[in-house]
Structures are given as structure tokens and as C-alpha cells.
């Protein structure tokens, strides 16, 4: 920080931070409601997490420990660049360990390791309006939220059943928050929806391009929409993680060659590495394929 001209702490100017902070407080007070805010241009393109970055910048302090994940991974482009951004403009401590982080900015996953009270999960949201693909007019969707008129969403889920025999939505699966607002949980796999329900952590959602902030306070009811005869189900996997042997976690498919070879590995890299460090091994782990000499 010895440069002559430096950015304000956490990049944003103070007036912008106050504006975002006020929106966050309203979001917490009205769980699941999308608060409009004056989203700023950030030094990254829309779609790269400008909403999440602005929320994180407004809440972060010098004492915080930041973790950034992109599809569960700490080491992919988006996660690495946002982590570097906050190291540069806020000089904060960073970690990849879920348990050590006070703020976790995420793109499309909730960590496997259970979150605790005092942690804040910040989601990067592309399209905050769950009804947007059913009704393109903002004036209409706003009216539908105002009147709690969510029939259209149930029709959409019903059409899934009529066409596919089951609800085919697998990510951005709509939820109802505290019995009132239908909310888009951002494009997380529906596997993660149950983790939002009564989570001890505060969950904040930032959509930069769409200029919306919303929130789910800790210990809030988050219920995935479903039907009595077609209850909500999460994805299941036939095999455990090929590297750490974990079951009941969300797995990514990795293509190994051009002959149809593939493996399933934990999407949450920190969870996978922690398990391997504890001695857990999957069937494609290097230690099993090539035992130490």
C-alpha cells in the first residue's frame, strides 16, 4: 500500500458502500425480497461476479478472512482473480479452508463442510428473478411478488412433470423463503438447496448487472417448491468421489480421454483435499494407482 494513489479500502467509495449496506439491511429484514440497488461498474465484466464483489466489498473489514469459490473450487479463474482483487484492494487474509473463513464468496455452490454462526456466504447471482424466464416484464414480476402470485412457477414445474415424468429443473431450483417470497437460489445445483434451510450462516445475494441484492438470514425456512406426489429430491450419485471416496457430496464429471473414460470427483476442492489429508482415498487416487515406492 505504498503507492502514491491507492484505492479506498475494498475498492468502493464510502457513499457506494453505505448505499449497498442499506440495501443489505433491507434485504435481511425482508428475507427473499429483491432490493434494487445502484450497482456500480466494477473492474471486471458483468457476469464475473460484480454483484457478489460489491456485496463483499461493502461488508468486509480488515479482520475478515475471505474464501472465494467458483463451482466449489478455490483454484479456478473466477475464484483466483476475485481473491487476488480483495488481497490487493483490502489487504485481507484469505483462505481456502471453509471453517477458517468469515466471508465466503461463492459462484454456484455451497461448501460441503457445514457453515457456522458468524459466517457470511455471499452469492454471485446472474438472474435474481426466479420468474424472469416465465414473465419477461419487471413490472409484472414485481406485481406477482407483491400479490404472492406464484401459480406460474408451479405451472412450470407441473409442465416438467407432464413432459419428463419428473421435475427436470436441476439448478437454480426455486425456493420459498419463510413462507412468503419465491427466490432464485442462484444457479447452485438443487443438491445444495437443503443446506440453505435453517443455515446458521447469513446468506447474501448480489446481482450486479440486474442491480438487485437479497438475503436469507440465519435460521430461516427455505423450502424448495414441489408437489405432494412429486416431492423435491436432490441429485444422487452412483459412485463416491474417485479421489477421496466421499459419498453424499456433489460430484463433477471429469473426462479423462477420448475413449469414454471419465471420473467423478468432489466439486468442493477444499472438502476433497481435507479428506485426502485425513487419509481417505478413492479408487483413482494416485496413491492407489501408483503406490509409493
Amino acid at each position: 500500500m505504498s503507492d502514491i494513489a491507492t484505492y479506498n479500502f475494498a475498492y468502493l467509495d464510502e457513499q457506494t458502500k453505505r448505499m449497498i449496506r442499506r440495501a443489505i439491511l433491507k434485504g435481511i429484514a425482508i428475507p427473499g425480497y429483491q432490493v434494487p440497488f445502484a450497482s456500480r461498474e466494477m473492474p471486471m465484466p458483468y457476469g464475473w461476479g460484480t454483484g457478489g464483489v460489491q456485496v463483499t466489498a461493502a461488508i468486509i473489514g480488515p479482520e475478515d478472512v475471505l474464501k472465494v469459490i467458483d463451482q466449489g473450487a478455490d483454484d479456478t479463474t473466477n475464484a483466483v482473480s476475485i481473491r487476488a482483487f480483495f488481497q490487493k484492494v483490502a489487504d485481507v487474509a484469505v483462505t481456502t479452508e471453509t471453517a477458517k473463513a468469515t466471508i465466503i464468496q461463492t459462484r454456484h455452490r455451497i461448501p460441503e463442510y457445514p457453515l457456522t454462526e458468524g459466517q457470511t456466504l455471499v452469492y454471485q447471482v446472474p438472474i435474481p428473478e426466479p420468474l424472469r424466464f416465465l414473465e419477461p416484464r419487471e413490472t409484472e414480476t414485481r406485481k406477482m411478488h407483491a400479490l404472492e402470485e406464484y401459480g406460474l412457477m408451479h405451472v412450470k414445474l407441473y409442465e416438467d412433470i407432464a413432459r419428463h415424468g419428473r421435475i427436470a429443473t436441476t439448478y437454480a431450483y426455486p425456493v420459498k423463503v419463510e413462507g412468503r417470497y419465491v427466490m432464485d437460489p442462484s444457479p447452485t445445483p438443487k443438491f445444495d438447496n437443503p443446506k440453505m434451510h435453517m443455515s446458521p450462516a447469513l446468506q447474501l445475494f448480489g446481482a450486479g448487472r440486474e442491480k438487485r441484492i437479497y438475503a436469507v438470514p440465519p435460521f430461516t425456512r427455505v423450502v424448495s417448491l414441489d408437489f405432494e406426489d412429486h416431492p423435491f429430491e436432490i441429485q444422487t450419485f452412483d459412485q463416491p468421489c474417485a479421489l477421496c471416496g466421499a459419498a453424499q457430496v456433489y460430484l463433477d464429471e471429469v473426462i479423462l480421454d477420448d475413449k469414454g473414460g471419465h471420473m467423478f470427483v468432489c466439486s468442493d476442492t477444499d472438502h476433497c483435499e481435507t479428506r485426502q489429508a485425513c487419509g481417505h482415498r478413492g479408487h483413482l487416487s494416485p496413491d492407489i494407482l501408483e503406490p509409493a515406492q
Binding site: 453505505r18 439491511l25 434485504g27 435481511i28 425482508i30 468486509i60 473489514g61 414485481r142 412468503r180 438470514p217
Partner: protein, 201 residues
């Protein structure tokens, strides 16, 4: 009025102090019933107290019309807030984004403040009530989002018929006001979603 009263007493480190106070308010709003500590970071002139002053400095600016109760209207605190935040004064309580209340016991009823609309329930007033204590009053038993089972705080003084008024405020959901209780050295919050009961209820 002493000119220095109006100019002194702001945040010593505006960026970090505002963040500290905001995080305490955010945690309190997310977990109603918990009391978050806030060190004396601002020294506003009486009758505005340090915690309420610090909350105002961290949240208010030229975008947020501010409503002051009678005691604050006639004090140098009005000029202090004007100098440090630049917030315009709200002509009526229904225009206010924030209301600063030095004497909650004499507060006009909550329904006078902006409640937001059904489409935009966020366009409502956030009340900053300056209380003497969060533990010495009649206990309020709280339930709702942010509280795992139940929790309680005992702020004093509160507006008249507060529990009844708060019930009506909850009935207006998603419209309604939110309350920040600013006590010496600490804050607690009552977002509109929280349900409050007294012991006998």
C-alpha cells in the same frame, strides 16, 4: 450553540469505523435478540448518544432523508448530523428513510413512518431508537428468521404500547418498519419479520 460541538466528534477513522458499526448492525439485524457490541466511535452532542450517532454516521448520507424527534430537532445534534452526514431532514415521518429517536417513550406511532409499498417494501423507514439498556426493561420474547428457537432482549425505554404496535407492524408484512435499538456500547435490531411477545402473553 458551540460551533465545535457541531464539528467535533465524528469518526476518527471514517472508513474502518463505519465498517465496524455496520457489521455490528448487520449481525444484529440478521440475528434479532443478539446484542452486538459497538465501541464509542462517535461523540455527538447531547441528547444524541454515542451509539445512535455512530449508527447514523455509518448509514446516512445525502440520499437518506432523516427524521428527528422533538428533542433532537431543537439540539445541536441536528447540526452535527447535517455536518457529518449531509442528510436532508424529512418534512414528514412518511418521507424519512431513517428516523433518529432520542426519547422513544414519547415516539409517535409506528404507522406514521414510511411503510414501503407492496411492490417495494424496502421503501420504508428504519427507526434508530436510543435506549438506556437492552437488559433492564420488560423482557421481549422473540421468534422469527434469524432466531433458531426463541431469544429475548429487554430494551428500555420503548415506545408506548410497543408490543401491540409491533404486532400491527408484523401484520403489514412485507410492508413495515425496522428498528435499530442503540444502547450504550451495543446495538440490537428488530427487523419487521421478528415476532415479539411479553412474558404473560
Amino acid at each position: 450553540m458551540d460551533q465545535m460541538d457541531v464539528i467535533d466528534g465524528g469518526f476518527a477513522a471514517p472508513v474502518f469505523n463505519a465498517q465496524t458499526v455496520f457489521r455490528a448492525v448487520m449481525d444484529a439485524m440478521a440475528r434479532p435478540g443478539t446484542v452486538q457490541q459497538v465501541a464509542g466511535l462517535a461523540q455527538p452532542p447531547a441528547p444524541l448518544a454515542a451509539t445512535a450517532g455512530a449508527v447514523a454516521l455509518s448509514l446516512c448520507d445525502h440520499d437518506t432523508p432523516l427524521w428527528l424527534d422533538a428533542g433532537l430537532q431543537v439540539s445541536s445534534a441536528k447540526s452535527w448530523l447535517g455536518f457529518h452526514t449531509g442528510a436532508p431532514l424529512a418534512a414528514t415521518p412518511a418521507d424519512a428513510h431513517f428516523a433518529l429517536v432520542a426519547n422513544p417513550a414519547n415516539l409517535i406511532s409506528l404507522e406514521n413512518f414510511a411503510q414501503g409499498t407492496q411492490e417495494y417494501p424496502d421503501r420504508s423507514t428504519t427507526l434508530i431508537l436510543q435506549v438506556d439498556s437492552l437488559t433492564d426493561g420488560a423482557p421481549l420474547h422473540l421468534e422469527g428468521p434469524g432466531i433458531e428457537t426463541t431469544d429475548s432482549i429487554a430494551p428500555t425505554p420503548l415506545p408506548r404500547h410497543f408490543v401491540e404496535q409491533w404486532k400491527q407492524n408484523g401484520a403489514r408484512f412485507p410492508r413495515g418498519v425496522d428498528v435499530i435499538l442503540a444502547a450504550p456500547g451495543a446495538v440490537a435490531c428488530l427487523p419487521r419479520t421478528v415476532r415479539a411477545k411479553t412474558m404473560e402473553a
